[in-house]
Symmetry: C2
C-alpha cells in the first residue's frame, strides 16, 4: 500500500527527543527523512544507555525510518552537501539554540535562498522570541514554567514531574502538525515558510481545562494525587498487590460499590458519605476506609468485581504489566523487527490505524554516517 | 493572510475533550469546522462549570473557531441534514463508543457511500479492536493502563495522575496528525479512508525513553518525584516561598553551586557528595541539606544567583504565575477576544508560530444551535 507522505523529503538536523520524535512520525507515514548528525559524535542520544553492542536503545527508538548522514557543518565541503540536500527537500527541521543556526549559516534566511519553497521548522526550549529565548531548553524546566509540575503530585506533597518528558513530546507533536499544515499550504500554493515551535508553548497549549477554570473563575489547578477534584470515590486505591482506579462518581454507582464490591453496607448509613459532595469533602477518610478493605485482596480480584457491577475501573499498571497486556499487544503497540546487526529488537507501535495509508516500519535507525555514500551519490557528489 | 487549511471542511460529531481539541486546532489553522451537537442538551461539557451567564468556560475554551448545529440523530429529518453535510465535507470525526455510530447509521460504511472521499476518524478510549474495545474511555483509566500514572509521583509515594488530561490530549494530537496526513493523501489521490485512534495507544506511543530502557535492559521507569534518575542535584527544591528547579548535573556546575549559590564549601569535602554518582546515591540526604539552605530565601533570590552562575534552573510556577509571566505573555500564549454576549474573554494562544499561514482566532465557540439556520440555508434546505 502507498504511504501518505511518500514523496515528502525531510532534512532533520535535530537531536535528543523533540525533533527526532517529530521526524520519526513523518518517516513512519512515508516521508524520506535524512537525519544529519554532527561529525564527530553524532546525536547526543548515542551516548545515553542502555546499549546493545555500543548502539543506544534511546537513539534507536526515536530514529527508525530515517537514513543518516554525518556532517561537520564547520567545514565548507560538508556544509555544501547540506545545501545540496536542502535544494532537494520539502522540510528542514533544527533544534539549535536560537542564533546558532545563523552562525552555522543554515538559518531560514540562508536556506530559503537555495530553496524558496522550503518549510523550515525551528524547535527550541522557549521559542525564538521573548525574554527567555536564549535559555537552554530542558523538559524539566519547561514543566516547571508551564505550571504542569505544580499541578501534578499528592495533595499534601510536593510538585512532581510528569513521568514522561511531556514538553519534549508536546513540541514534537506541535512540530508534526505544523509541518503537515505547512506542507498542505505548499502543495496548494508552492509557498514555503518558517515555523517557530517551543517546548514551553507546546504543552502550555494543552492546559485547556485548567485555563478555562482559571480565566473563568480564577480557580487554580491544585495537586490532588490521582483524585478527581469534584467527585469521590474517583481515584486510585491501594490493594494487596498494587493500585487500581475506581470511578464510582454517582449515587447509584456508589451504592453498588458499597453493597456488591466491598460489602460495606454500613457506609450507606454514614452521614459523611451520604452525597457525592460530602464524599468529596471526606475523600481522605474515605480513602483510608476503602483501602482498609481493598488491601485484603488482589487488584485482579477487585477489578473483576468492579467490572461485573459496571463500575468504571481499571488497573494502575507498572510499565512491564502494560507491555504484557493482551489488549496492548492486540493493538500492535509493540513491534518486533530484525536489525541487520543486533537481531530481533522491539519498538513501540503506531498510535493511528489508517485503512489506506498505514504507518510502517521500513528501516531501523541508522548507524552514524551509515548512508553517507548513498546520499552523496544521489546528489551526484 | 491566507490560512493553510482554508478550503477543508470538517464535520465534528465529538464532545468533551479529545475530539473537540482536535477540531479546534484544525479550525485554528483555517478549516471550516461544523460542530454537530446532540439535541437536546448539546456537548456534555456545556454542563461543566465555571459558567458565564450559563455558558461553560470549558466548552468555550475547546470549541472556538467552529460553527455549531444541533441535531437529533434519532430523527430522520435531522439525520438527513447530517448526510447532506457529510456530502460537502473532507473530514468526519466522532467519539462514540465502538458500535454506536453504526446504530445511528453514521458509521464509515454508511458515510462513504454518500462521500467516497471522506476521511473518517474515530476516537475512543481503547480503540475499535482488542478485548477492551467496549469499555468506556476515561483519561484517568488510560493513564493507569499505559503505565504513565505508575511512573509519576514521589519516590516513596503513590502513583499520581498527570495534572492535565494527558491521554485525552494525546488522542487529540494523534487525530490531528492522522487527519492532516490522510488529507495530504486525499489531495494527491482523491482517496478517503478510515482512521482508528484511541486514548490508550496515543499516549503510550509517547513513552519512548521508557520503552527504550525496558526493551533494551528490562529497566522499569520508577516514580522519582521531580528528580532525574541518574543525576543529582537535578530536581525541584523547596525555598522560603515555593519550589525551584536546579540542574547542576556535572562536577563543574556542582562546584559553582556549592561555592557561589548556596555558599556551602564544606559540601565539596563531603565524601557522600564527591561524584555525580555518589550524589545521586545520596540524593535524599542532599535534598534535605539543600532545602535547609534554600528555605532561608525566596525563589526569586535563588533563581538570580543560579542564572548569574550559569546553572540550569527555573521556577516551579503555580498556574497563575505562569499566566502572569512576561515571557508567556510575549509569546502570545494568552489571547483576549470580544464575545458578542459576554464581553472580553481570554483563551490560550497558538503553540506553532507560522510566518505565512498563522493560526488565528476567527470566531468564539457557538451557542447551542447557533448556526442551525445558516447551515441549513447553505445546504439549500
Amino acid at each position: 500500500m502507498t504511504q501518505a507522505l511518500s514523496g515528502m523529503r525531510v532534512i532533520d538536523a535535530t537531536q535528543i527527543l523533540a525533533g527526532p520524535y517529530c521526524t520519526m512520525v513523518l518517516g513512519d507515514m512515508g516521508a524520506d527523512v535524512i537525519k544529519v548528525e554532527k561529525s564527530p559524535g553524532g546525536d547526543d542520544t548515542r551516548r545515553m544507555g542502555p546499549y546493545t553492542d555500543g548502539e543506544s536503545h534511546m537513539f534507536m527508538m526515536v530514529n527508525r525510518n530515517k537514513r543518516g548522514i554525518s556532517l561537520n557543518l564547520k567545514e565548507e565541503e560538508d556544509k555544501k552537501i547540506l545545501y545540496e540536500l536542502v535544494k532537494t527537500a520539502d522540510v528542514f527541521i533544527e533544534n539549535f539554540r536560537p542564533g546558532v543556526a545563523a552562525k552555522l549559516e543554515i538559518d531560514y534566511e540562508t536556506l530559503k535562498e537555495l530553496n524558496p519553497g522550503i518549510i523550515y521548522c525551528s524547535i527550541s526550549g522557549y521559542g525564538q522570541t521573548g525574554p527567555y529565548r536564549n535559555k537552554g531548553g530542558f523538559d524539566i524546566m519547561a514543566q516547571g514554567l508551564s505550571g504542569i509540575m505544580d499541578m501534578t503530585g499528592e495533595k499534601d506533597g510536593k510538585p512532581v514531574k510528569v513521568g514522561i518528558a511531556i514538553h519534549d513530546i508536546a513540541a514534537a507533536q506541535t512540530a508534526i502538525q505544523s509541518v503537515l499544515t505547512a506542507y498542505i499550504h505548499k502543495l496548494k500554493s508552492g509557498e514555503g515558510q518558517y515555523i517557530d515551535v517551543s517546548l514551553v508553548d507546546s504543552a502550555l497549549a494543552w492546559t485547556v481545562w485548567e485555563a478555562a477554570a482559571y480565566f473563568g473563575e480564577g480557580q487554580l489547578p491544585k495537586r490532588n494525587g490521582t483524585a478527581h477534584r469534584a467527585a469521590a470515590p474517583y481515584q486510585g486505591y491501594a490493594t494487596r498487590d498494587g493500585f487500581i482506579l475506581i470511578g464510582a462518581a454517582n449515587q447509584k454507582l456508589w451504592e453498588k460499590f458499597c453493597l456488591y464490591v466491598v460489602d460495606q453496607p454500613q457506609w450507606l448509613e454514614d452521614e459523611r458519605y451520604s452525597t457525592n459532595s460530602l464524599r468529596n469533602e471526606h475523600a481522605l477518610q474515605l480513602e483510608v476506609d476503602i483501602e482498609n478493605v481493598l488491601r485484603t485482596q488482589s487488584s485482579a480480584h477487585w477489578l473483576v468485581l468492579l467490572e461485573e457491577n459496571g463500575i468504571p475501573s481499571g488497573p494502575i499498571y507498572s510499565y512491564d504489566q502494560t507491555m504484557n497486556d493482551q489488549h496492548i499487544q492486540e493493538r500492535e503497540m509493540i513491534l518486533e523487527y530484525e536489525h541487520p546487526q543486533f537481531g530481533t529488537l522491539k519498538t513501540l507501535g503506531f498510535p493511528a490505524k489508517y485503512s489506506q495509508t498505514p504507518a510502517k516500519l521500513s528501516k531501523p535507525a541508522p548507524r552514524l554516517g551509515e548512508h553517507n555514500e548513498e546520499i552523496r551519490a544521489e546528489l551526484g557528489l
